[in-house]
Symmetry: C2
Subunit: 256 residues, 2 copies
């Protein structure tokens, strides 16, 4: 199982939108895929059509109790090969619970190992913070994908994010890699976005995915229908771009 | 001094953009205004033209050391009546430091008291989390302004945010009020935004400001020039809307 954590401490850069639609695109291409919602907001859970408060077993139970395996939380989604491990607001209590544990940075990694044989890909959605919970996601995954809006604040945050990745690699996870930097919420016509994209590609070179996700209202509508954009409107630009990203992630041919 | 914390655990809903431009609009109307950057990302500091890493004294020192008064951190901004208390990445260490203190929820409130006589308004920018640091901002302010993007995930988050405000009022700050809910990043032409706005006004009634902040690229450009939009492009829609918000906050006539 290849696991990728979708993370960036900058808020609103498209982490959940990327986690949900990349996982959906991978499942539609035939890969057995797991999406783990590691954000107490429960937005990935909502996007998959589940109601966070109604989920009896969530990732919170898995992290705080040794007798609840990840497999117990798995729920079906609108896509056959995609399963969800949901979260809800209880997860905000995990931070202090984790802090008391001896193996506190590796809890999620140990829990993911138990289901690794069942999936080809695992995508983890993170909250906008560099908490112990997010650290668990990054170490558990061993690979991070960093969505970055093509705006000024986002560039500033990226430098800090990459420094954090280096620290985590040194102290906890020597094999940690960056799957890539994904440009999101891009707007064709604005100069600011074009300038930011140019700067990103110049500075970070191949680390930046060829695929760019542009602003498209269909991407914001899909979660209110409890679906990924891939099933909500398969022919819209958002669905095509996330499908292209899935191909790029799987090292298949990228049609630029 | 009237203090307002700009907060919402949902990321990217326009907290920093609102804190910076509301503070600037209040100062331009002649009020002595302080903006406090309580986010380790340091984006409000950047938007005021300062370099977070170069600030010798920041709000982190004020929170963690009794011998550093808030007054020591104050720096000028491009607007005469507006002063900044900056932050940088060191602030992410404040959470664990606060947890050890006996009066840990009230530290910022005590520090703000010392400068209250010098300002008419104080605006606090928060990070996208419900941490001890954000709790300090909410208790220190006694009033919260909640920016909400007119999208699906944002509505879900608002319910949780208002529940949190109720809990904080009961346990820590009986006089805590909601200054208002501010609709941000609104798009005139999309059905989703119109539907969300209608639902918000129906459900939350007068709690929602009359002023709505629409998406405008000038608002995203201004921080890269180290300025608020009020001085960057005073005639653009973003500047007009934040000026109108300042009037609404000050209970002056709102021209709808
Ligand atoms: N490409 C896009 N086009 C249009 N809207 C988008 C796009 N990507 C994300 N959005 C919308 O923008 C908002 C922010 O995106 P999202 O919630 O995925 O970001 P996030 O990084 O997960 O936020 P948080 O930091 O709160 O976890 C959401 O309302 C989402 O629907
Ligand atoms: N009305 C607007 N029109 C256009 N762009 C905007 C508007 N408001 C905010 N932005 C841009 O959207 C992005 C998110 O806004 P901002 O950073 O202010 O949100 P935030 O809630 O402070 O984010 P965080 O959760 O990371 O603290 C920024 O790049 C900002 O420049
Ligand atoms: Mg999210
Ligand atoms: Mg901010």
């Amino acid at each position: 199982m290849r696991t990728i954590a979708i993370t960036n401490q900058k808020g609103g850069c498209g982490k959940t939108t990327t986690a949900v639609n990349l996982a959906a695109a991978l499942a539609m291409r035939g890969y057995r895929t797991l999406i783990v919602d590691l954000d107490p907001q429960g937005h990935a859970t909502l996007a998959m059509g589940a109601v966070p408060e109604h989920c009896e077993w969530t990732i919170y139970n898995v992290i705080t109790r040794a007798d609840v395996p990840l497999a117990m939380t798995l729920r079906p989604t609108p896509i056959e090969k995609l399963l969800l491990s949901p979260s809800n607001v209880l997860l905000s209590g995990a931070e202090s619970a984790l802090a008391q544990m001896s193996d506190r940075e590796y809890v999620l990694r140990n829990r993911l190992d138990a289901v690794a044989h069942r999936f080809d890909y695992c995508i983890i959605d993170c909250s906008p913070s560099l908490s112990l919970l997010t650290l668990n996601a990054v170490i558990g995954a061993g690979e991070v994908l960093i969505p970055v809006q093509t705006h000024y604040y986002a560039i500033e945050g990226l430098r800090q994010m990459l420094e954090t990745v280096d620290v985590v690699r040194e102290r906890f996870c020597p094999s940690l890699t960056v799957a890539g930097i994904l440009l999101t919420l891009a707007e064709h016509r604005t100069l600011l976005c074009q300038q930011v994209e140019e700067q990103m590609r110049e500075y970070f070179k191949d680390l930046v995915f060829k695929t760019v996700i542009h602003r498209s209202i269909r991407l914001a509508e899909a979660p209110s229908a409890g679906q990924s954009v891939i099933t909500y409107d398969p022919r819209c630009s958002g669905a095509m771009e996330y499908t292209q990203l899935a191909k790029e992630i799987c090292y298949e041919e990228v049609r630029v």
